[in-house]
Amino acid sequence: MKRALLFIAALLGLLTASSPARAEVTLRFVIWDGDEYVRAQEPAIRDFEKAHPGVKVKLESVTNNYMTRLLAQYAAGVAPDVVMMDPFSFHKFARRGALLPLNDFMANTPGFDIKQYYPSLVDAMSADGKHYVLPKDIAPQGIIFYNKKLFDEAGIPYPDGTWTWDFQERPELKEKDFLWVMHQLTKKDDRGRTTQYGYAVGWTNLFVETVAFSLGARYVDDYKEPHKTFYDDPRFIRAFDFLLELTKEKKWVPGETELNTVLQTGALKLFTEGKVAMYQTGAWEIVPMRRDIRPGAPGFFEWDVTLAPAYKNGQLVTPTGGSGYAIMAGTKHPKEAWALASWMGGEPGMSVMAEKGLSQPARMDMSRRAPWVPDANTPPEQRYPANRAVTDIAAQHVLFPPTHDFYPQVQDRAFAENEKIVNGSKTPAEVLGEGNRLAQARLNLLWSQEKSSPPFDWVKGWLFGGLLAVGLVAWVYWPERKKKLTQAMKKENRMGYLFITPWLIGIVGLTLGPMLLSLMMSFASWDIVTDAKWRGPGNFIEMVTADPRFFPALKVTAVYTAVAVPIGLTASFLLALLLNVDVKGIPLYRTCFYLPTLASGVANALVWKKIFQADGGLLNTIIYGPHGDGNFLGLAAMLRGVAGANGQVNWIGNEKTALASLILMSLWGAGGGTVVLLAGLQGIPKMLYEAATLDGAGPWARTKAVTLPMMSPYLLFSLVTGMIGTLQAFTEAFVMTGGGPGDSTRFYMLHLYTEAFEGLRMGYSSALAWVLFFVILAVTALQFWLSKRFVYYEGDIKK
């Protein structure tokens, strides 16, 4: 043991001793872009370092959990200097004083003029007249990429952006009517199935917004300070109905089912394959398009970009994205940080991105010239699409989503059921009406909690925490305090504590504090960024009275656990018995079954999406056959009630089958449990089997008399840890369904996660967590109590 301790000590020493050499000023620069963007930006950063001797930039590319990481770092006082922000995220930092206002820097920088940037973008990134984010790119979505070859084939002139549309086709306008063009460019086979779509849209809401925004509909009353929601505006409903007509009746536009190819943004793939004539999306898809539609490669066609049509008599208004750089208030080098931000959000940084076609500059002048708009010097591989000048026009007709930091949660409520529109189980009017009601309720709740509540009293909090810890120690020690110990027992007692010392250090030093803190926060409202406020039992009251997701989430989790755990345990056990026999190649099999546990999460998720896919997925191919007319084991007949529009089941997109699909998927991980049970099987002394065999026991009797009792400790272990794990199940739903459709797979943990990191309501999510804690505690206690009769410990301490 001493050696182990020495090793730890040596390790600690080794790690703390090495501190890196420092340049004069080191700036931490964090972006959420990956690979191609980093490649493009590296040279600009190196140029910055050359132009600013003594300043070193450490670029951190965080493509995943960007905000979570930033929040944790901010809370711990170790935030970076310059960070990437978008109009929807900066507000929660800015509102709480976590970002430096940039006005003074802008005023004192010669040659800098914020008026050069798109005004809508600048406005979306300011609050109360202060600029918090220096924009770097804008991504208007009112642009349509089109396949010139398909236009040629149909004999229609290339679009110049001066077109409009109506809910009805207007053939008299010919190529000036978007719907007519769409119709002309759609091709169908003799069975009425579309082989070439006239138009596709990157995602459902883009279509709805393009239509409804240009008709004048808006989501909320005030985009900076929303108080009233309008998701059920008749114009949104009309736009949805219109989309359903185009996808399901006319079939000029591919619907979700047709796009559900999983591998790539479905519509992008259809476009690059030449199966879609016009494709509306943002400029960020230019790079993948260039990669997949390569001159000289088979299937190449000429393509370009044009402006999306405005609605008849309406104004062109389309959604947009955009981002920029902000300076964290805690920076020790504000001057250098601004130098970096204005470098990367100025000419040097934006032109490297424009050159590679990665993003449209946030500055209007740069959006109108090379390298963003191709000229004579543009290298051939960057010429497509030639008409990039339209992105500048599109950028002048954009509407940013509401920027208030409540908004993401409000929108989440409003759109939660939208899948039901797409899969046809409810009408747009029903879904949007209910969505609007929930969104408005959420908004009201959030505003009502804004009202001043007393600050959280940390002294009392920690006093309470300390008392609790003391109480815990007393609870552990009290019953046995008077027990008389013999000399040998005293020694054993001491040895026991010595053996568990590492764990004791861990729990006291690292685990207990954060646990107590989260317990305290369950009585507070805490957004990580600002100080906690006292809420008393408010969080727990909200759960049962004002949270429409609490009970459904509990129910979904309970059902999932009740079904998945027993099935999974049985599967693991049978698999372990199977793998314990002496067959050739058994090491290979063991590895196979463990593979899903080892393989990367994305690969697994992809496999399952491919299995559950509505159109041509593995499961449907088995049930319905490759031509869609099969009836494997009579399953097709049995599933008629849940089949979707194409007559087959959309497994994870259907409320009735989504949870069952996730349960099926959980069996995939049975290999992990198998390994544990396999180890247990190895632990059974062979002499027991030999003895049983000698007593004339057959294989079944041996299993019953030897294997099962000897395995009972591991089965208990698997059951208890399985339950604990499943009650906290998260990833499955997060990756596969996002909780939908409806709330059918909204696991308790998913709800908790959303509240914590999307709603930034750490207090409420802590309360949710502690409720779950006590549920799990009760379930586990019950299991141990029941297990007393069934579990046999060969080496139990005789009392």
Partner: protein, 292 residues
């Protein structure tokens, strides 16, 4: 109680007769099931060796017509990627953790399984309770704690906790294993005057190779694969692990599945090999036969 030789012979004959049909069945079941379970690996390999244009035009399940190493080249030569360095960081974290977790969880589990000390059973409830609170709500407080200890941007948050008990899951598992080891085996040693440390290292650990190997493999692959930990606690680009370094492709718009999968192959294949080689220890059980 040595059985007569004829008993063994009879036993052996009976076993052989049973197996003939049984083995074919077992074999068939295993074959079909392992093919199913192999599909993620298949998909990963098929996609990793396809060119992006082939990937865009063919089904994901089709085997590459033209093998290309281009994806691996792209992944490994990315400016933000330093394969050797990240690999070394990952190995350091994974190996340190494995050593720490196996050692410390075995120690703690031994005490809970074999030693009588005051408050043991209630302390064990506390061990289990640490698994029951979702990590999401302790994440930020833990981060703040590590920041106060000046552990951010060092490997300490990713290695030290492993030495401090090794986690409730492992303690619980090893406790169950140790409790199943017949007590006669170590009681004799204790009576002979051996200390508990000796019993632990000389009797318990050697008897538990299978369980320890299981804990080791779980820990190693968990640490090797860990994404959130390194992402949160390490800032320095030079301290990245493979999993974090390769994540750069997941955030790409118009996702590059070819590159994501090439990255997955790079992190998965070593684990599969390790498991394949190490799995023989899983079956090293208590091979004691009776009649000594």
């Amino acid at each position: 109680m040595t059985p007569a030789l004829s008993d063994f012979a009879r036993m052996a004959r009976r076993r052989a007769a049973m197996s003939a049909a049984g083995r074919i069945l077992v074999f068939a079941v295993l074959l079909v099931m392992s093919l199913t379970f192999l599909s993620p690996l298949y998909l990963m390999l098929a996609m990793a060796f396809k060119s992006s244009s082939e990937l865009a035009t063919t089904s994901a399940w089709s085997w590459p017509k033209q093998f290309t190493l281009e994806n691996f080249k792209t992944v490994l030569t990315a400016p933000a990627m330093n394969f050797l360095l990240f690999g070394r960081n990952t190995m350091f974290i994974a190996v340190t953790n494995t050593v720490g977790v196996v050692l410390s969880s075995a120690m703690v589990a031994y005490a809970f399984a074999r030693l009588r000390f005051k408050g043991r059973d209630r302390l064990f409830i506390i061990v289990l309770a640490t698994m029951m609170l979702p990590g999401i709500v302790t994440m930020v407080p833990t981060y703040v704690l590590y920041a106060r200890l000046h552990w951010i941007n060092t490997f300490l948050p990713l290695t030290v906790p492993g030495f401090l008990g090794g986690g409730a899951f492992n303690i619980f598992m090893l406790r169950q294993f140790f409790m199943s080891v017949p007590r006669e085996l170590d009681e004799a040693a204790v009576i002979d005057g051996a200390s508990h440390w000796t019993v632990f290292t000389r009797i318990m650990l050697p008897l538990s190779t299978a369980a320890l190997a299981t804990v080791g493999v779980f820990t190693f692959s968990g640490a090797f694969r860990d994404f959130m930990g390194p992402l949160l606690y390490l800032n320095d680009p030079d301290m990245k692990t493979l999993e974090v370094g390769l994540q750069t492709y997941a955030g790409l718009r118009g996702e590059r599945w070819d590159l994501i999968m090439a990255g997955s192959v790079i992190t998965t294949v070593p684990l599969i090999l390790l498991f394949f080689v190490g799995q023989k220890y899983f079956v090293k059980g208590i091979t004691l036969t009776g009649g000594k």
